[in-house]
């Protein structure tokens, strides 16, 4: 192949572009169906940015059906800069404090990127020890096949995995649940889970993704993040199956979960 000939940029439709990209990547198997992912490009980004409501975001962002922005693929790829997104948010409110929660979330990205630049090794190695009572060596290095396939038998977890794989997007709270389940219920290394997310998320960024997994795992936080079925039901709405008998391993109090998940560590977690 003559590498100085540019690749095509005009295609009949998205399916044709996907087939081209899949062939470029040697992943012809991936071109069978066009995934339902965010549209690329600046026009799409500006349309998403125009809908951002920082006040509604602050009020409901933790709920799966809340006013989340879906800006992350555009910010991650520089289609929108953090600066212009912040400026747009400030322009849409009367008082900067009304946009503070939203801007603080933008600042998380700035923070992760600063760590990536200053300490790139922290993106794939434990920043600190696990605070779970287990050593790093006790966590599986590979993602179990049932998690990759979305066939864990835990109903809400399997729904989150299906959404991730089909759409390349997952609400932040669902990411936290899935990451916590993977690391703490299944005792899988955060690196294995982080690779799974990087492969599927359209907004995947090594720093934001991996350091967030470390926050869940407790290797970059003061304690492990865990959740229970009651919390899932509170934030996920009726589209997520939170029937207890379909989610048995999650249907416990935090005190009981701490005993079950971290038997060598004293004190409750949540």
């Amino acid at each position: 192949m003559n590498e100085t000939i540019p690749l095509p940029t005009r295609f009949a439709d998205r399916a044709a572009m996907l087939a081209h990209v899949a062939a470029l990547s040697g992943r012809d198997d991936a071109a069978s169906a066009v995934p339902d992912i965010a549209a690329g490009g600046r026009k799409a980004a500006e349309a998403v940015l125009a809908k951002v409501d920082p006040r509604a975001y602050a009020a409901s962002r933790n709920h799966l059906d809340g006013a989340v922005t879906r800006l992350s693929p555009y910010i991650r790829h520089g289609v929108l800069s953090l600066d212009e997104v912040r400026n747009a948010a400030l322009a849409s409110v009367g008082d900067p404090k009304q946009a503070e929660k939203f801007i603080q979330e933008l600042a998380w990205r700035d923070y992760w990127q600063r760590i990536y630049l200053a300490h790139p090794e922290r993106v794939w190695t434990d920043v600190e020890s696990y605070k779970t009572g287990f050593d790093a060596a006790e966590y599986d290095a590979e993602l179990p096949a049932d998690i990759a396939a979305g066939e864990t038998g835990v109903a809400c977890i399997d729904q989150f995995i299906a959404t991730l794989v089909e759409t390349g997007y997952l609400h932040n709270h669902a990411r936290m649940y899935l990451a916590s389940y993977t690391v703490h219920w299944r005792r899988v290394s955060w690196q294995a889970g982080a690779r799974f997310f990087l492969e599927h998320l359209v907004d995947a960024d090594p720093a934001s993704n991996n350091l967030s997994w470390q926050w869940i795992a407790s290797t970059f936080s003061n304690k492990p993040y865990i959740f229970n079925l009651e919390n899932v039901a509170k934030y996920c709405g009726p589209d997520i199956n939170t029937i207890p008998r379909h989610n048995l391993v999650l249907d416990q109090s935090y005190e009981r979960l701490s005993e079950l998940l971290f038997p060598y560590m004293g004190g409750p977690h949540g």
Partner: protein, 149 residues
């Protein structure tokens, strides 16, 4: 001599400062390296998103996507374009930083200039990155102002 803008997947917009630095006539390229994408765990969905964004950018500006490895493709394209400088958006990605190092070794006469992204906040000192809120407590005031000034 003309400049050549070398884009990467973290800076996909025509308003990035790299274009102001290069001027309106600077040729622009994106190098599609399947091995690097695979090594960076960039899945097919993200690859489609990136390609779609590049395709839209190419409607408004001369922008070519070339397949290959940067250290092999970039010096050749720079020579073809008569470019003495390559402008690249700065990035913390170690893979990109390694590529820049490899190009500098392979083509020592080719000047590579990294162009910073528009800053989000303006900080007087290097912040403590040990925990987010140590950073946020220093950055908050600037973050809540337009242009972070």
């Amino acid at each position: 001599m003309a400049d050549l803008v070398w884009l990467h997947e973290g800076a996909l917009r025509l308003t990035h400062p790299v274009f102001a630095a290069g001027g309106p006539d600077a040729a622009t390229i994106f190098i599609w390296d399947r091995d690097r994408l695979a090594a960076s765990h960039v899945g097919i969905k993200r690859q489609l998103f990136i390609y779609e964004t590049l395709a839209e950018m190419s409607e408004s500006r001369s922008l070519d996507i070339h397949e290959g490895r940067a250290e092999e493709v970039l010096p050749r394209l720079a020579a073809q374009a008569g470019a003495g400088r390559v402008l690249v958006p700065s990035s913390p990605d170690p893979a990109l930083r390694a590529e820049i190092g490899a190009i500098r070794r392979a083509a020592p006469d080719l000047e590579i200039v990294e162009i910073e992204e528009t800053p989000f906040v303006t900080l007087a000192n290097t912040p403590d990155l040990g925990r987010f809120f140590r950073y946020w407590n220093k950055a908050r005031k600037s973050a809540l102002r337009p242009q972070g000034i």
